[in-house]
């Protein structure tokens, strides 16, 4: 190797290292860009990701968790080229328009950037003191009469969490409907519906854990879409409610899909 090629090689090495460090940032982040991105999203992305990015055939985009890379550049590339091996297609928009889409997608999880007011440690204490764990699991501890809250901060907005504490009966999501089953032999079961098909039912039974039942054996079967959780509106002061919401919001996904 001559001296000049050695120098060139060293220069190239340095340039590559520099390029690797340089982060590509979204140049289109004004409110007007977000609005323009929203319009494109509605026409092109919402069919799978939901009109508000809440998910559907495609994953939710409101959690701030992106499984195929979370940098601006990752989002730009995934939108432009699509994601191989999935149903996510690429698009044929201009680069500027894709950046506007990236801005809109980011805005969907903006609440993640500004966590709710309240003290997480105090919230955790309140969670234990008020007996929430009697019904709710957090990281494997607690009961199964209510939804598992281990990842609830990734799954619900602070506003949703607050509403669920003060008015739990307002809207019970399908994940938390309860199957009540009595078999021909008199045995009865009550639990969250995990899966159901034409012939069988899989539930998380409140006392007996995971149960797979055959519909042929059913005598009675009903689905309760109401909540058994009492309202905590009167039991919590405003500060305490904020702390509890802050604690629940801190229960986040660390990777994986559930």
């Amino acid at each position: 190797m001559t001296r000049s090629t050695l120098l060139s090689a060293l220069w190239l090495l340095a340039a590559t290292a520099f390029a690797q460090q340089r982060e590509i940032r979204n140049p289109h982040t004004t409110p007007a860009d977000v609005a323009a991105g929203a319009k494109i999203f509605r026409g092109h992305c919402g069919e799978c990701h939901g009109l508000k990015g809440e998910g559907g055939r495609g994953p939710s985009l409101i959690t701030g968790v992106y499984y195929h890379g979370a940098t601006d550049e990752d989002l730009f590339n995934n939108i432009t080229d699509g994601i191989p091996g999935t149903s996510m297609p690429g698009v044929f928009f201009s680069g500027d328009q894709v950046w506007q889409l990236v801005s809109f997608v980011r805005s969907l999880s903006a609440s993640k950037a500004a966590p709710p007011k309240g003290d997480i440690a105090r919230g955790e204490r309140i969670f234990r003191e008020k007996g929430c764990q009697g019904c709710h699991l957090v990281r494997g501890e607690g009961g199964v009469n209510g939804p598992d809250l281990t990842l609830i901060g990734s799954q619900r907005s602070p506003e949703h969490l607050r509403r669920a504490i003060v008015a739990p009966g307002d809207k019970v999501l399908r994940d938390h409907w309860v199957a009540k089953v009595t078999l021909e032999n008199g045995k009865s079961y009550s639990g969250f519906i995990l899966n159901e098909d034409t012939h069988t039912l899989q539930i998380l039974e409140q006392q007996q854990g995971l149960q797979s039942l055959t519909k042929r054996d059913f005598n009675r079967y009903s689905v309760e879409k109401t909540s058994t959780m009492p309202s905590f509106a009167r039991q919590l002061k405003e500060d305490e409610l904020n702390d509890l919401v802050a604690y629940l919001h801190s229960l986040e996904r660390k990777g994986g899909s559930r």
């Binding site: 899966n195 098909d197 034409t198």
Partner: protein, 535 residues
């Protein structure tokens, strides 16, 4: 064994699929020669080794796992002991139909960016002579050698960068390979093409959206026809006696916002009958003029010659996505009968010509309007079946409503051009699915096999008086909705006689064939092909 003579007959032309064999596909039920089993579109097999009495003993014979991740919608063909099937996105495999062992595999190299509305899928291949044909998601048509998988020719059907793709299984007619096109969500201008089997040269093209000066163009306004849609993404049928190719067309574009396209928008959502030699339109019947709900008419046309209302007629039976079952005259396209086969809230019935009498307030709005059936329709591309022994018409039906929302639609070549984001499943009212049997001469329901979820797969019926069907599918994979049963029903009563959990999405329809004297039943589930037989 009843079909032994046919086996011997087939040996004389081993591996060579002539036009004559395709015309007489019924005479060799041990083979599955075309997408629907025969030109008539029945998805029916004359095999009866597996029947009502013994289907309970059906056992898994072999599994072929595809090394792919896209959804599988393929219908395999079986020719003299060799199974030819497509793998998504656009690969072809030849297997030993007795064991599932692979002979060869054609793996297509594709551009990195391809837009297909609902996944990079393929519904099957066609075989003629010693050639296998596949349409590709980058909108090419490819001819392969049936013994080696080597490429004989590879031609561009349309520009994939403008949203065109080929997902449909081709159909061989005479010395031509007929292919449709997909892209109804990308503002394509739809067509049906015929290519020379030997050279790949195009013989004719029928534009499903007529241009200036062509009949039907007056049903469009301005330049809307240029992106008018009308794709042809499910294989049609062939009436040899009249030399007519009968094929269904899909939605006009943009799907849910019809403001830019006032008029009936011919020939979207139509049954079209084309002269096979020239591609000229003989007749058409439009199921939904000016569709704004995405109710494609891409169902397989079921061709039956029978006595109808007192005289012998050539008929087409057609259960359309919008929820009505139709009987059409196959010589003229004349509407003869129409009746809902599922709940629908958009029409006050059909008039004397079969035109729907639309209700007010059913068109999509920015806020959304609830209409039955939902966006995926009361049925869709899933194959129906006609069984000459029971005289019944079998189909997959959905009981569901959708929320139809209207949005902006701006055409940018290669991007989605749909004008909305409809809601397919309403969270609290997902509806349910069913396999239904209709009396095809009246549209009356004879029986129903009710399902918890809405299937994305079609039906196969056999001379064993069985209907093979499946449950579950690719959008209903939420954990409360997942089911994956493959089962056999009594074709007379709908009673379930056998079932197995295949554990994966089923988005196609079963086939049956015989090899070494044993009847086999094949169904794709997840990324695998499962084949069953009696012990």
């Amino acid at each position: 064994m009843k079909y032994l003579p046919f086996l011997l007959l087939a040996c004389t032309a081993f591996g060579q699929v002539t036009f004559d064999r395709l015309l007489k596909a019924d005479a060799e039920p041990h083979n599955w020669l075309t997408y629907s089993g025969s030109y008539k579109g029945w998805r029916y097999s004359g095999l009866n080794q597996i029947n009502k009495a013994n289907v309970k003993d059906l056992k898994l014979s072999w599994v072929y796992q595809m090394p792919v991740t896209h959804r599988v919608e393929t219908t395999p063909l079986v020719i003299d002991g060799v199974m030819y099937l497509s793998e998504p996105p656009s690969n072809v495999v030849a297997l030993d139909a007795a064991t599932g062992r692979q002979y060869w595999r054609y793996r297509r190299s594709l551009p990195s960016k391809i837009n297909v509305c609902c996944g990079q899928v393929n519904r099957g291949v066609a075989v003629s002579g010693d050639r296998v044909f596949i349409g590709t998601v980058d909108a090419h048509l490819v001819a392969l050698n049936a013994k080696t998988g080597a490429v004989l020719w590879d031609i561009e059907v349309a520009d994939y960068k403008s949203g065109y793709s080929v997902t449909v299984a081709p159909l061989i007619v005479k010395d031509m390979v007929i292919t449709g096109i997909a892209g109804g969500e990308y503002g394509i201008r739809g067509f049906l093409d015929a290519y020379d089997i030997k050279t790949g040269q195009r013989r004719w093209r029928f534009w499903t959206i007529p241009g200036p000066g062509e009949k039907g163009h007056e049903t469009w306004s301005g330049d809307a026809w240029k992106q008018g849609g009308g794709p042809t993404w499910v294989t049609g049928s062939y009436d040899a006696e009249q030399n007519l190719i009968i094929w269904g067309t899909g939605n006009p574009s943009p799907d849910w916002n019809g403001d830019v396209r006032p008029g009936d928008n011919l020939y979207s959502d139509c049954a079209i009958a084309l002269d096979a030699d020239t591609g000229k339109l003989k007749w058409h019947f439009q199921f939904v003029p000016h569709d704004v709900h995405d109710w494609d008419a891409v169902q397989v046309p079921v061709l039956v010659d029978t006595e109808f209302q007192g005289r012998q007629r050539k008929l087409v039976y057609w259960a359309h996505r919008g929820g009505f079952y139709y009987v059409l005259d196959r010589t003229t396209g004349k509407f003869l009968l129409g009746k809902p086969f599922a709940t629908q809230t958009w029409a006050n019935g059909l008039d004397a010509n079969g035109r729907p009498m639309r209700k007010q307030g059913i068109d999509p709005t920015p806020e959304g309007v609830e209409v039955w059936p939902g966006v995926q329709g009361a049925t869709n591309w899933y194959s129906p079946s006609y069984n000459p022994l029971t005289g019944l018409f079998y189909l997959t039906a959905w009981e569901n409503k959708g929320l139809y929302r209207k949005g902006d639609a701006e055409y940018v070549a290669g991007n989605r051009y749909i004008g909305s984001v409809p809601k397919i499943d309403l969270e609290d009212e997902p509806g349910y699915g069913a396999i239904r049997a209709l009396n095809p001469k009246t549209g009356e329901r004879v029986w129903e096999h009710k399902l918890h979820t809405k299937p994305w797969s079609g039906v196969l019926s056999t001379a064993g008086k069985l209907v093979f069907a499946a449950s579950g599918g690719w959008i209903t994979r939420d954990r409360q909705e997942m089911e994956a049963w493959f089962y056999a029903l009594d074709a007379d009563s709908g009673k379930e006689l056998w079932r197995i959990n295949l554990g994966g999405d089923m988005s196609t329809s079963a086939i049956t064939y015989a090899v070494n004297g044993k009847q086999m039943v094949t169904m794709a589930a997840g990324s695998a092909i499962f084949t069953f037989t009696l012990p």
